[in-house]
């Protein structure tokens, strides 16, 4: 006789905690929270098996608003907290919520090492290109020349590009979405949740108080078809309101071409998210609006690789298989001993 237990079907509201959400009205974070709550029930996981870990910053308040297990840790360290948690409890689904300052500035080192270890975590980086919680200083993703409270004459340091960093660390899953593109965001979060290994998702998120319209070009209804490019695995890179523009490879460099006039879809770069080599994904991550390219959204890369959390437990099992279950008596008496009577 088999005993079947059915999981209760959860609704988005079941994932809402009893805490008031305290982001500024109009903040892009609301949309990400809403899509997360909408997406999680589709995974069929019990709520108690989901953990949200965050660092410090506006985005990092996220765990307080989810009725799951969670920890609002310290600035930049969420990937490390999550690594310890996931290593001990690989059965849990662990999310890391971070921002551009938290993840790429003070926590850059942890992000890099978490990704290269391929710990089975889902990292969502809310990129608003500004320090919001400290009220408007420039961030590591702020563009050159950006005037903020701490850069009255303009930022003079070259910005980091989150996906280039992730791909440089050979992330096994890399994606980008936009806070206002809710259908796309929900699908992207779902893809990240389904990936085994570190899933890194950058979300273009608007800070309407300190850096409003930073992603205007990518969200504006009029322009977004020309300024973004939705990636589809196995499909050519086509974009534009009239779907008449594409990306072609010229040597090692991408270029924008118009379809027709002798150029067909077959001449275009085809997206292969499963390519073991990360070079093309890296090239995509370098396509920037300011250089006249559409910025790709969707899944850049999705490949399989050994996961740290699973390997660390495998080693414990392997050691037990080879040496037997640890026995204190045997440990204490290993090596040379002597009797005193």
């Amino acid at each position: 006789m088999s005993i079947e237990t059915t999981l209760p079907v959860l609704k988005p509201a079941d994932f809402a905690s009893d805490q008031d959400v305290r982001w500024c009205p109009g903040c892009g974070d609301y949309s990400i929270l809403a899509q997360m709550k909408k997406m999680l029930p589709t995974l069929g996981l019990p709520r108690e098996n989901i953990v949200f870990i965050s660092g410090i910053g506006c985005s990092s308040r996220f765990p307080y608003y989810m009725n799951t297990y969670g920890m609002h840790s310290i600035h930049g360290r969420a990937p490390a907290v999550a690594t310890g948690l996931k290593s001990c409890r690989p059965d849990l689904q662990v999310w890391v919520i971070t921002g551009d300052g938290d993840g790429l500035s003070i926590g850059g080192n942890h992000l890099m090492h978490c990704i290269r270890r391929n710990v089975d975590l889902n990292i969502v980086l809310f990129n608003n290109r500004i320090y919001g919680l400290t009220k408007g200083q420039y961030s590591p993703t702020s563009p050159l020349g950006k005037k903020t409270k701490s850069t009255p004459m303009g930022a003079i340091d070259n910005p980091l590009h989150p996906l280039s960093i992730a791909i440089g660390c050979e992330a096994t899953f890399v994606a980008r979405s936009v806070d206002t593109n809710i259908r796309h965001l929900s699908t992207t979060l779902k893809r990240a949740a389904d990936h085994r290994g570190t899933a890194f998702v950058e979300v273009y998120q608007n800070c309407n108080v300190f850096n409003d319209k930073a992603w205007e070009y990518a969200t504006n209804r009029e322009s977004k078809a020309d300024t973004t490019l939705e990636l589809e695995h196995g499909r050519p890179l086509i974009f534009g309101k009239d779907r008449n523009k594409g990306i072609r490879l010229n040597g090692l460099d991408p270029e924008v071409v118009e379809l027709g006039k002798g150029i067909t879809e077959d001449d275009l770069l085809f997206h292969d998210e499963r390519s073991p080599e990360p070079s093309l994904a890296y090239l995509l991550s370098r396509m920037r609006h300011e250089d006249g390219f559409p910025e790709p959204i969707g899944v850049f890369r999705s490949v399989d690789a050994p996961r740290y959390d699973s390997s660390i437990n495998e080693q414990a099992k392997e050691a037990t298989r080879v040496n037997g279950v640890g026995d204190l008596e045997a440990l204490f008496h290993s090596g040379e001993t002597w009797e005193v009577t």
Partner: protein
């Protein structure tokens, strides 16, 4: 063994101290370790002091590259590696120059004559050859052509000259083994285990050279006396020799087993704590997970994640690493998760003296975090004591839901002593409770406290107990974020009271000596041995002196104040500029006498004794 052709006298000693010193590449640590293990196996009490430079291989022959290993072995119970040395083995002029001051007058000096050539003498700063200029005549000097004799011994082993020279330490060992009447068999077994299978010719060469050194002692006429130290009368039981960091790692494993937890160690390599990581990594079959993190902060915060997951979270480092963990420890304090933070102290500030010992992180342990951030502190006093203190730290951590700081130091960590192997069944269990899922309609309150003021440890994966922890101040009972000023003060006081409550849970402070007297020696950590020995000697000389050694630094045992009041003077010897001293003065409002040493070296018994004599 060849029959001795020379008649030798045997002199019985109660105890002796030997130091091997040479270039960092000369294998002196190995020689010292083998001598120690052999002495322990034949029943002596032993205490050791390895002393090595921060550089892995400083330029050959220089004073900066000298590495040493001191062993004190005795037929009585001993607590220190010895103040002065009875026999010094110096493999080169630099080793002689840097170590001779510790050799007692009339002591035995064994040198490798072959290394006392022009360049070596110059590097050591000698104007003339001390072996020839009469400057060493107050010692029993044996100048032996160790390089030449070693090469001769291995000429049939098909080794290169460089490989042959690497066996020299075994010649020195063999000779000292003969001098102190120690058997070769344990070392021969060690050689076979270490090299036998992999490089049989090296195993053969080392064995030959070891025996050659021993035979040299037996046969050469110039060495006329052999020394003998009887077995010590230690309490009955099965013993082994153990290093501090190994005892600490085993104590952690034991604590994990006795609390039925997985053990998670987050660590970043740092001297002198790295061997804890290495030792634990060897025992993954005890369900031990070792995470070599990208930095100290990740080591700390991954440990917090592990404790949140319900595991026994441990991180181990030294002062500079502990400084980096400060913010993480604050998170551990405010989230009230149990874990053990180990500081194997070394000389500071900054990088300081990485391989040398010091006790100057006590105030860092007390106060080195932002905000009102109390943590319990325990300290180990000797290598074997690390085993017990590790378990005690974890017991307090889970009972009070708090991170606990465990302090040792380079001297305790690298030193070794005989350790009576405990009966596993007699080691107490460490009970851990996790709340069970709630009934319908009930609400989990993550900051609801029990009579000790500790909160429940609900682990992810438990239905109905979903909750959020974090670094923002939490409302009492509910654990919701709270900026309420009165709540903040309340929570700060609660956290402080919870740690203070530990005083109800630890043994009353004991004393070695009468309850009252002229001088109380108050010590903590590594100086235990030197203080105990000095106090025993002073007591034997009729001084009214007692010894109080603290394992618990925060909170103090409840009766400490009363003890202090019963003595005319309180002497506080520390390897710092007066940190416990400061805590005692401010807490108990008493005048104390500090004795401070910050030379990267442990106290000598004579230093403590001289101070006691000055006061009593």
């Amino acid at each position: 063994m060849a029959n001795s052709t020379v008649s030798k006298s045997v002199s019985n000693l109660l105890e002796a101290t030997v130091r091997f010193c040479g270039d960092s590449g000369d294998g002196m640590q190995l020689a010292g370790t083998q001598f120690t293990n052999t002495s322990a196996l034949i029943g002596n009490d032993v205490a050791t002091f390895p002393d090595f430079p921060a550089e892995i291989r400083a330029p050959r022959g220089t004073k900066a590259g000298v590495s040493g290993f001191q062993i004190h072995f005795s037929s009585n119970e001993i607590y220190t590696p010895g103040d002065t040395v009875d026999a010094l083995v110096a493999m080169n002029p630099a080793a002689l120059a840097t170590n001779l001051a510790d050799l007692r007058d009339g002591g035995v000096l064994l040198v490798n004559k072959d290394s006392f050539e022009k360049k070596g003498l110059e590097q050591a700063g000698y104007q003339s050859n001390p072996l020839e200029d009469g400057s060493l005549k107050k010692y029993k000097i044996h100048s032996v052509e160790m390089t030449k004799l070693t090469r001769l011994a291995v000429q049939d082993c098909s080794l290169s000259q460089k490989e042959a020279d690497r066996c020299r330490n075994f010649f020195a060992m063999g000779l000292v083994f003969w001098l102190y009447d120690r058997p070769l068999e344990p070392t021969l077994r060690f050689i076979e285990q270490k090299f036998g299978a992999k490089v049989p010719q090296v195993a053969q060469a080392n064995s030959l050279v070891l025996k050659k050194g021993f035979h040299y002692g037996e046969t050469v006429e110039a060495i006329s006396t052999q020394y003998h130290v009887d077995a010590a009368q230690l309490p009955p039981g099965t013993y082994r020799n153990i290093m501090g960091n190994v005892a600490l790692a085993w104590g952690l494993i034991t604590a994990a087993q006795k609390s039925e937890r997985r053990l998670f160690l987050g660590a970043y390599p740092i001297t002198p704590a790295s061997t804890i990581l290495e030792e634990l990594a060897r025992h993954k079959n005890f369900d031990v997970l070792t995470f070599q993190a990208e930095d100290e902060i990740a080591a700390m915060t991954a440990t917090i994640g592990a404790s949140f997951a319900g595991a026994m979270g441990v991180t181990a480092s030294s002062g500079p690493g502990i400084a980096l963990k400060g913010e993480g420890m604050g998170l551990a304090v405010i989230t009230e998760l149990p874990m053990v933070v180990i500081n194997v102290q070394r000389g500071g500030p900054s990088t300081g003296l990485p391989t040398k010992t010091e006790q100057a992180d006590l105030l860092q342990a007390m106060f080195g975090r932002n905000g009102e951030c109390p943590m319990p502190i325990v300290a180990a006093r000797s290598p074997g004591d690390c085993f017990d203190v590790a378990q005690e730290a974890w017991r307090l951590a889970v009972r009070y839901m708090t991170p606990v700081l465990l302090l040792t130091d380079g001297y305790v960590a690298n030193g070794s002593e005989p350790w009576r192997i405990p009966e596993v069944a007699e080691i107490p269990k460490i009970p851990v409770e996790h709340p069970a899922p709630l009934n319908d309609g009930d609400l989990y309150q993550p900051y609801q406290r029990n009579e000790r003021l500790s909160r429940p440890w609900a682990v992810p994966g438990t239905p109905t107990l979903e909750h959020r922890l974090g670094g923002l101040e939490k409302q009492d009972i509910t654990g919701n974020v709270s900026y309420d000023p009165v709540n903040h003060e309340h929570m700060c006081r609660l956290r402080a009271k919870k740690v203070a409550n530990i005083a109800d849970d630890i043994p009353l402070q004991d004393l070695d000596g009468p309850d009252t007297g002229e001088v109380l020696v108050l010590s903590w950590g590594g100086p235990y041995g030197a203080c105990a020995t000095a106090v025993h000697q002073a007591q034997a000389a009729g001084k009214k002196v007692s010894h109080c050694h603290l394992r618990y630094l925060n909170p103090f045992p409840k009766n400490l104040g009363q003890i202090l009041q019963r003595f005319g003077k309180v002497l506080v010897p520390e390897l710092n500029l007066g940190q416990l001293d400061l805590m005692i003065r401010s807490r108990f409002m008493i005048d104390t006498v500090g004795l401070h040493k910050i030379q990267g070296k442990p106290f000598a018994v004579a230093e403590i004794l001289a101070k006691i004599e000055e006061l009593a």
